[in-house]
Symmetry: C2
Subunit: 351 residues, 2 copies
């Protein structure tokens, strides 16, 4: 049976086990091939605003290619959704506030990168993240004095420091933010940006921190209106796997860029193995492995040469609110420097 034939089969091959919600009784599924890519983008429509975004991104990349010579990091952040209905009331979401992506973006900017921040709408943004998702209400930072609104003096100094960094990033045209919501919007936008980033060659860095859905509901099986619940005792959602586009990114969309992906697991015993398997399958450069429970204080950086290196915050560093991204980003940037010089060497050799 060809992979194609397997994919198009939508009828269960077995009655799910009553003790488990997930039917795993299906053979290994191959990574996305060129044909899967073509099929996906032929079947699912591009978001209507895609060209507009491409224009913005093109200008941003051109500006840095021509004027600053900066390395450009594409950071993806937040979770993608999978709509279960055409007029979306219900969807499956992947947990991610976007902390990793938004925090890393700030450190990439501090490390001299221009940053394209492809993020889930309403997830955390660089700089504003310090205020937007706290339990404090926006207005708790404000106060009234002599009939004028002002920043509460308790917060003013810190906020000024953050405002300055934010304005610096904006004024130097070093930060471009692009939102997505669904997995389809994410995939289309990622592809477009990756292709545009070919312009800066090996100076492009992909830092794929978004939590991308593994499964989606094909359009053909999506009800037009809200799923009606009153006549059913239960709901069975029969999802298909999202093609693994990481390999397409490596081979076709961004063959010269350095690619860093993330592995989030909850079971520590399989973390490094899963990271190595991913590098093996997709042939990219780095996997940053982390556990849901400890992701803010330790990660493991696994490289394609099979070396892995743990980065851990000490208890004291945690107490001082040090952010682990302040250690991750310089290490990734170092890998990227090597990647760039190897590319230059190779190019010189081939001439």
């Amino acid at each position: 049976m060809s992979p194609q034939a397997k994919r198009s089969s939508v009828i269960h091959t077995s009655i799910p086990d009553a003790g488990s919600a997930i039917d795993r009784n299906i053979p290994d599924f191959p990574i996305a091939q060129l044909s899967d890519e073509e099929k996906y983008f032929r079947t699912y429509k591009a978001p209507p605003y895609l060209e507009e975004i491409e224009d913005e991104v093109r200008k941003f990349i051109d500006y840095h290619a021509t004027h600053t010579g900066k390395k450009v990091a594409l950071i993806t952040s937040g979770g993608t959704t999978v709509p279960l209905e055409n007029n979306t009331v219900r969807f499956i979401d992947n947990f991610s506030a976007g902390t990793r992506g938004a925090t890393s973006a700030e450190y990439f900017l501090e490390n001299g990168y221009a940053v394209i921040f492809l993020y889930r709408e309403f997830s955390l943004l660089p700089y504003s993240r310090h205020y937007s998702h706290t339990t404090n209400c926006f207005l708790d930072y404000m106060t009234e004095s002599n009939n004028k609104i002002e920043i509460n003096p308790d917060f003013a100094d810190e906020m000024l420091m953050i405002l300055r960094k934010y304005k610096k990033a904006k004024d130097s045209n070093s930060l471009l933010v692009i939102p997505f919501t669904t997995v389809n919007q994410y995939l289309y936008t990622l592809r477009s940006i990756a292709i545009l980033l070919q312009k800066v060659g090996s100076k492009a860095l992909f830092f794929l921190a978004a939590a991308v859905s593994d499964f989606f509901l094909p359009q053909s099986r999506m009800p037009q209106h809200k799923i009606q619940s009153q006549s059913t005792g239960k709901l069975i959602i029969d999802l298909e796997q999202v093609p693994k586009f990481l390999r397409r990114l490596v081979d076709n969309w961004a063959p010269s860029g350095m690619i860093v992906s993330f592995k989030l697991e909850t079971d520590s015993s399989i973390l490094i193995d899963k990271a190595k398997t991913a590098l093996d399958r997709y042939q990219h450069q780095l996997v940053i492995g982390n556990l849901l429970q400890t992701r803010k204080k330790e990660v493991v950086i696994v490289a394609s040469n099979d070396q892995s290196h743990w980065i851990k915050l000490t208890d004291e560093e945690v107490k001082e609110n040090m952010e682990i991204e302040s250690l991750i980003v310089p290490e990734v940037a170092e890998h990227h420097e090597k990647w760039i010089s190897n590319h230059i060497k190779k190019e010189q050799e081939s001439h």
Copy 2:
């Protein structure tokens, strides 16, 4: 077959139709009975912080019962999630930014109510909603002048007006906000607050604007760790219906409070019928019907006496940014006034 027996059946009764993602081949399912309630709360644990919340709510209600005599509105807002794993990476979510709830809360406060705002964490909050989910970054409202941070003068006047309303609500202890995330947290907290609200009798108003999941994944079928995707071609999620607790609210938890629920549909042809069916089934007082597509400019208020009344914004009102909640809330408050006087009459008659 008893309802109980039907509910506990977890094996499909049919192979789902290949053309549809949803298996509807299951007979009508009855609304939650007392036994369903007991079973649910026996099976699922209360959130660990529940007692803390109960203390806060009790103080809030006591304060208004003793000192202000205000009517108390419980407003629920935002969507509930259904975790698909015990260490939650993936969950099913219901679409709702919380606009209706957060906006209505402001108008209930303006109409003299004390408001308990039970909302999905990170969804919109009254007052801060004007700034928190815009495409503007928090920091875009700020500027630096003479080494000090201040509010950008373009926004300062409007923000001052909103800050004043917010401070007034806070200083008069008229607004209590309580977050939830999962449907289980929502149900437990709703029950606790409803029971505490018995203290103010018919002066309690339930304004149930939250988008509550109809389906959930029973704990017993939830995997401990993240669902592994690499070996499966597809994912089948087999969900059960969340018991319809609205009837329990009417009969047991809050027999004297007035209850307003919402019906969000995408198909206009069934909206009023669905609203009437809900009133019939749950025996509460008002349903506010709205369509996903037009919910910001028209709603229909359907009362238990079978009367329905459309509220629509004119094009001009829409242009002037009038909020439909400014019309909905006074109308609901009027219904509530009648409800209270009827209760007083009944009490007098029975003495």
